[in-house]
């Protein structure tokens, strides 16, 4: 049962981390323009993916 005294606070701590992450996403305006953000991912010139993935995608593209 003693393990409980470690695990219970630990689980709450983990959840608090999640809450802090959520707080950050709200503060940085990630819910302000859902339509725009959904569309932005389709734009080629603002692709934020790592360079390696972009190169591979470029090679794989037949057209």
């Amino acid at each position: 049962m003693t393990i409980f005294f470690l695990l219970a606070p630990f689980s709450v701590l983990l959840a608090l981390l999640g809450l802090a992450g959520f707080w950050w996403t709200v503060r940085s305006g990630q819910y302000d323009d859902p339509a725009g953000d959904a569309a932005r991912i389709l734009m080629d010139d603002v692709d934020d993916a790592p360079a390696l993935i972009q190169v591979r995608a470029g090679k794989a593209d037949p057209g």
């Binding site: 689980s11 707080w23 709200v26 323009d33 932005r40 734009m43």
Partner: protein, 723 residues
């Protein structure tokens, strides 16, 4: 008539200096609704010299442009947008809707905190519930679980409950009890009693119930906010757009764009064809025709020349006008209408929403029941502590989860459904009011009719002859004529005389298109709804135009009658024009020659004889009536001010959107009432059970989430409504 934009006006009055030495320019872009638009706009604007970045918010349609220095050129941004095919208007720096946005973030955060609190408090509650079923959990472990649950749930509930506490406090201060009052009392009392029970080593604590109740209610609150903010993004931001701008000529002839409020009497204003007059003004130079349709409802263009006084809000049709301002924007004719609108909007804000009406019954009943439980329980020998626990159980189990979620969920589903049908709903209250409508009042010009002239009985050969000349003109009648012909040939050496007509060479032959006198017809009436065309010295051909009915106007009116609604036409136009439309549509109640004030007064008088009227209008002359009516709709082609005054805005050619909107609103009302009925039934069972002490925290958690689920599922049935 070519529009010249070579001397781009100066918009620097709209630049907002930023802290880092740069400047920001915010504008609203109309019609940017897809990913491709966003890429095109951002790419185009960011490429301009001096622009650091451009970001378009696709949800609200706002474009924010950052300039490197203070001396950026906002005019370039606007002309670039125009070249890309988008209308735009600068935001009045004072009117940014930042406060509203903050409220949205606050609700999102509260929802997140409530979710965290509910999940983690529940984690400690499950072992307690296990204990209720005779599983082993020592007394020490039980107390620890209760403390852990309480320490997590309480701070979260206090934070997440703030929107409710604040609203309850505001409502109590004006002596009314809205739905947030029982919610706040319930949550605070539950937390307090649960803490007392924990201290006294009692069995039942309701920490998890309090926080999950808030979580469920916040979903409803959040949905309601989303509904309103989406409508704001698309339509209500137009209010901020109203501010824009007029072109003022300075002494050296330079053009400056100024916010409307900065225009003073005596300023020289330039109004291009296609623009509206910003203030009441007298013509200094130029001649043109003005379209007063949105101001008075009159469908005929009025010719104006030097020395004539023109009203703010009139649309300049054909020639460039230079005018001298005669009044400030606040004193112009438009502002008088704006004051009528304000008065109407105030009467609308007194409307009591469905949920609040339910609360008016619900609050006294539930609180009496809880008080009775305590008094009777104690009196019948339960002991004060047990009696208080049962009273709290009554408050928790009957807490209006279902009610708080029922209405917003239905309204979000309904407005999503209407959104796909190209009808924009501005608020949930608008849907509730629309469902109660018994009488529909239509404006004529631009609503029942298309609001633009079309050729009557076109003879293809004649049209083909005149079309090359018509295509060269920007006059509405000429454009209507050109629209009838499929060709692309263009006349040469075209000269347009404002307010008279166009002259040019067609296949080397000199020809004229315009007013009777201009073409050389003698003894004609000079009517504004006809055009004459002739080759030099040849026979003269007459084209007649009329404002045509919307294609589905008749069906719409029949459909409205079939739904038990009476129909009426109110117009500012001449009696003859109104009568012909009324007869074509078989509408017996109609009134012509109404001023904006008349319309509003008539709509108001309808209310006194027991009619709840829906006003459908598009013009500035309708805005006061739109604001006064029980519910209001405006077409997407309407003036911004009208779209602001209306509850719903529909786009597309058809009027049938009015019928669809009423159907969906009625279906939404039915669903909401069903949900209320279900909640009442649920409370009829749950409240007595709580009074008898049959409820424990586990049953409370199940009942609450179960009832919320049922009302939400019922709300989702809205997706089939109005088909």
């Amino acid at each position: 008539m070519a529009l010249t934009y070579d001397a781009a006006p100066d918009y620097s009055a709209f630049l907002k200096p930023a802290k880092d030495g740069g400047a920001t320019f915010d504008l609203l872009v109309k019609g940017a609704r897809c990913a491709a638009c966003m890429a095109k706009i951002e790419g185009g604007i960011a490429g301009l010299p001096g622009v650091r970045s451009a970001r378009l918010n696709l949800t609200s349609g706002k474009l924010s442009v950052d300039f490197e220095g203070r001396s950026g050129d906002p005019g370039r941004v606007m002309s670039t947008l125009e070249k890309l095919g988008y209308d735009s208007a600068p935001y009045d720096p004072g009117q940014a809707a930042a406060a509203q946005d903050r409220e949205g973030r606050r609700l999102t955060m509260a929802l997140g905190v409530a979710a965290f609190g509910a999940g983690n408090a529940m984690m400690f509650s499950v072992p307690i519930w296990a204990g209720l079923f005779g599983q082993e959990l020592g007394p020490a472990a039980l107390i620890m679980m209760q403390w852990a649950s309480g320490l997590i749930a309480t701070p979260c509930a206090l934070y997440a409950g703030m929107p409710f506490f604040q609203s309850a406090w505001r409502s109590l201060r004006v002596g009314r009890a809205n739905m947030d009052v029982p919610i706040s009392i319930g949550v605070i009392l539950t937390l307090a009693i649960s803490f007392a029970e924990t201290l006294l080593h009692g069995r039942d604590t309701y920490f998890d119930a309090a926080i999950s109740l808030l979580f469920l209610l916040l979903i409803g609150r959040w949905l309601d906010h989303k509904l309103r903010s989406r409508a704001r993004g698309a339509a209500a931001d137009l209010l901020a757009m109203q501010a824009p701008a007029a072109t003022v000529l300075s002494a050296d002839g330079a053009q400056h764009r100024r916010p409307l409020a900065d225009i003073v009497v005596g300023d020289l204003i330039l109004v291009r064809p296609g623009e509206r007059l910003p203030v009441d003004a007298r013509v200094e130079a130029g001649a043109s025709e003005l379209d007063n349709a949105l101001l008075t409802g009159e469908s005929r263009p009025v010719p104006v020349g030097v020395g004539e006084l023109c009203r703010a809000g009139a649309l300049n049709l054909s020639g460039m006008l230079t005018l001298r301002a005669q009044a400030r924007s606040d004193d112009s004719a438009v502002a008088a209408i704006a004051r009528l609108v304000e008065a109407g909007a105030q009467s609308k804000s007194r409307y009591v929403r469905l949920a609040d009406r339910a609360a008016a019954i619900y609050v006294p009943v539930v609180h009496t029941a809880a008080a009775l439980t305590f008094v009777l329980g104690w009196g019948l020998g339960l002991g004060p502590r047990e009696a208080l626990l049962r009273a709290v159980a009554v408050l928790i189990i009957t807490c209006p989860c279902a009610l708080g979620l029922a209405v917003p969920a239905v309204q979000v589903a309904a407005s999503a459904r209407l959104f796909r049908k190209q009808v924009l709903v501005k608020s949930g209250a608008a849907l509730e009011r629309l469902a109660e409508v018994t009488h529909v009042v239509f404006d004529k010009t631009g609503v029942l009719t298309l609001g633009r002239p079309t050729l009557i009985d076109p003879i293809p050969e004649a049209v083909a002859l005149a079309a090359p000349l018509a295509r060269a003109s920007s006059h509405p009648l000429a454009r209507a004529l050109a629209a009838q012909d499929g060709g692309t040939a263009l006349a040469e050496e075209v000269v347009e005389t404002a307010g008279q007509g166009v002259e040019g060479l067609i296949h080397g032959l000199r020809a004229r298109l315009g007013r009777a006198a201009f073409v050389g017809v003698e003894g004609a009436t000079g009517s504004e709804t006809e055009l004459w065309f002739a080759f030099e010295g040849d026979t003269k051909i007459r084209f007649q135009f009329a404002d045509s009915l919307r294609p589905d106007a008749r069906e719409t009116i029949e459909a409205l009658r079939a739904r038990g609604l009476s129909v009426e036409i109110l117009s500012g136009d001449l009696p003859g024009a109104v009568r012909s439309v009324a007869e074509a549509l078989d509408v017996r109640q109609w009134r012509a020659g109404m001023t904006p004030g008349d319309k509003a007064a008539w709509v108001k008088s309808l209310a006194t004889v027991g009619h709840r009227s829906l006003m459908v209008g598009d013009g500035l002359n309708d805005t006061a009536a739109l604001a006064t009516a029980h519910a209001a709709m405006a077409p997407g082609t309407a003036l911004d001010a009208s779209q602001n005054a209306a509850d719903l805005v529909f786009s597309g050619e058809g009027l049938s959107a009015v019928v669809t909107a009423i159907d969906v609103a009625r279906a939404a009302r039915r669903r909401a009432l069903e949900n209320f009925g279900f909640s009442a039934l649920y409370n009829l069972i749950a409240a007595p059970a709580a009074m008898l002490g049959l409820i424990n925290p586990f049953v409370a958690a199940l009942a609450m989430s179960g009832s919320s689920l049922v009302v939400t599922l019922n709300a989702l049935r809205m997706h089939r409504a109005g088909r």
